[in-house]
């Protein structure tokens, strides 16, 4: 499993991700930082790609495919998104 990232994402980032996830949440799982994409939301590789494309549009960033294997939870993604946003500035 993933090592804890240490960093805590901002509530705004998490809220934006929850908003995007509404239309992808087919299992009706409750969304929280610890919600897992694969186990809790049943995301397959295709859905992951569609979802990431929307995240990229929303945050105006590029999410490299390389980091996807290390992203298991919403919190993981929020931390990664914030890192990319900061690097783009």
């Amino acid at each position: 499993m993933n090592a804890p990232t240490g960093a805590e994402p901002s509530p705004d980032t998490l809220a934006a991700l929850y908003e995007i996830l509404k239309s992808f949440n087919k299992t009706g799982a409750e969304l929280g930082p610890g919600t897992r994409f694969s186990e809790d939301l049943n995301f397959d590789s295709l859905v992951v790609m569609e979802f990431i494309a929307v995240v990229e549009d929303d945050f105006d960033i590029s999410v490299p495919l390389n980091i996807l294997p290390d992203i298991a939870t919403i919190k993981d993604l929020a931390v990664a998104v914030e890192k990319i946003v900061a690097a783009d500035k």
């Binding site: 397959d44 590789s45 295709l46 494309a53 590029s62 495919l65 390389n66």
Partner: protein, 410 residues
């Protein structure tokens, strides 16, 4: 403990839901006898083949058959070695020279398949400081290739040059090299890349290279069959062309051509080139001959496109949803995988073979009956195919029976 392949349970479930009812499994088709480029015996049924990617119909070209026979007699059935060991014969070098002449590029590498060419080139070309920007709808071999690369991998929206521009702009201050990866014609829907727009975006930035996979456009597009870059008139702006001999060229094998001055170092760095056996001499000989036929194949290209238009207009007139236009790929969209499978089985029972393509292998989650045309198809064959599509589409409920339609209109 979980069983070895238990993680494929969702795929097994999907397969069983679609195919376990005893009908023909579309992914286990066996050709029992080959009559020609366009007809084969499948089981007891003589079948018209409309899903072979054999665009120019060169698989039985007499000149290539003879060259293959001669090479077989002269050199044996295989090289039993890698290109960098004992597996480079004079034929492999002649084919590479022929590729350089054909494309007007300085260097060419011949791989054992098109898949391996993408795997080898894309995993090797870019380094840890670099970026690969790939079209989201690229082929599995491109995805697998970039996965082996140490570069950062970024997808841009399919055929969206503005999205590519946005993403390159974000990277403008980053020091690494950037590689754009596209395909001339995308295999599933047969749509072309907006190459002129992509080249214009490429030119706005420094250190950006362009690679185009011409697997489905080689032999199909351009006056001399050099693919989309020839048709668009920007061959010098495409730094790397990857392709295959397994479609228009009518045999098997892959290649990459480029005029990059240091290109040849890839012969030692590309693992998919170094660590696999080279193509058999007979295959190489037929590829070389057929490449010449591709170049002089203007009449074949015309027939191919005429056939494509014929099938496209016939299927559209039936009321079917066809995803592609003006393309050698004619993909009919079915509403869901179950209907697609029923449709496919109806076609095979009546003697028509097309590719069944299901998500996740398809864009937009489409379930497709994917036909690809051949220059050797006759009008009579295609009329028969269209009639059978009409009957089967009615049977599976995709279109109304013809009588109903008439009465509804008038």
């Amino acid at each position: 403990m979980a069983g070895l392949l238990d993680r494929f349970a969702p795929l097994m479930g999907q397969r069983d839901a679609l195919f376990a009812d005893g009908g023909t499994d579309p992914f286990q088709v066996k050709m029992d006898r080959i009559f020609s480029q366009t007809e084969a015996m499948i089981g007891n049924k003589r079948t018209i083949l409309v899903g072979t990617n054999n665009y120019l119909g060169l698989t039985f070209a007499p000149e290539a058959l003879k060259a293959a026979h001669d090479a077989l007699e002269a050199c044996g059935t295989g090289t039993t070695g890698s290109r960098v060991a004992n597996g480079t014969y004079y034929g492999h070098k002649e084919l590479e020279v022929a590729l350089c002449d054909f494309f007007g590029k300085e260097h060419a590498m011949v791989f054992s398949t098109g898949f391996l060419a993408n795997l080898g080139i894309l995993s090797t070309l870019m380094g840890p400081e670099d970026y690969i920007l790939m079209d989201a709808d690229c082929h599995a071999s491109i995805y697998d290739g970039v996965r082996g690369s140490s570069a950062q991998i970024i997808r841009f929206k399919h055929n969206d040059a503005a999205d590519l521009d946005k993403r390159l702009n974000r990277l403008a201050d980053k020091p690494g090299n950037k590689l754009i990866v596209i395909e001339g014609i995308y295999s599933m829907l047969g749509d072309k890349a907006p190459l002129a727009d992509i080249v214009a975006v490429k030119k706005k930035y420094e250190n950006v290279y362009l690679l185009s996979d011409e697997a489905h456009s080689l032999g199909v597009l351009g006056q001399y069959g050099r693919g989309l870059p020839e048709e668009v008139g920007c061959e010098d702006d495409v730094d790397f062309i990857v392709g295959t001999f397994s479609k228009s060229v009518g045999t098997v094998g892959g290649f990459c051509v480029s005029s990059h001055p240091q290109f040849n170092i890839l012969r030692l760095a590309c693992r998919a080139y170094v660590f696999t056996a080279s193509l058999p001499p007979s295959v190489v000989a037929s590829a070389t001959v057929n490449l010449g036929l591709v170049k002089s194949g203007g009449a074949l290209r015309k027939r191919l496109m005429r056939n494509a238009q014929h099938l496209h207009s016939g299927l559209t007139a039936l009321g079917l949803k066809v995803a592609s236009e003006n393309s050698p790929v004619v993909a009919v969209v079915a509403p869901d995988p179950l209907v697609a499978v029923a449709f496919w089985r109806g076609l095979i029972d009546e003697g028509v073979y097309v590719n069944l393509a299901l998500p996740p292998a398809t864009p937009y989650g489409y379930s497709l009956l994917r036909a690809s045309l051949c220059a050797a198809h006759t009008e009579e064959q295609l009329d028969k195919v269209i009639a059978i599509f009409g009957r089967v589409a009615t049977k599976v409920g995709l279109i109304e029976p013809v009588e109903h339609k008439r009465s509804a209109v008038g």
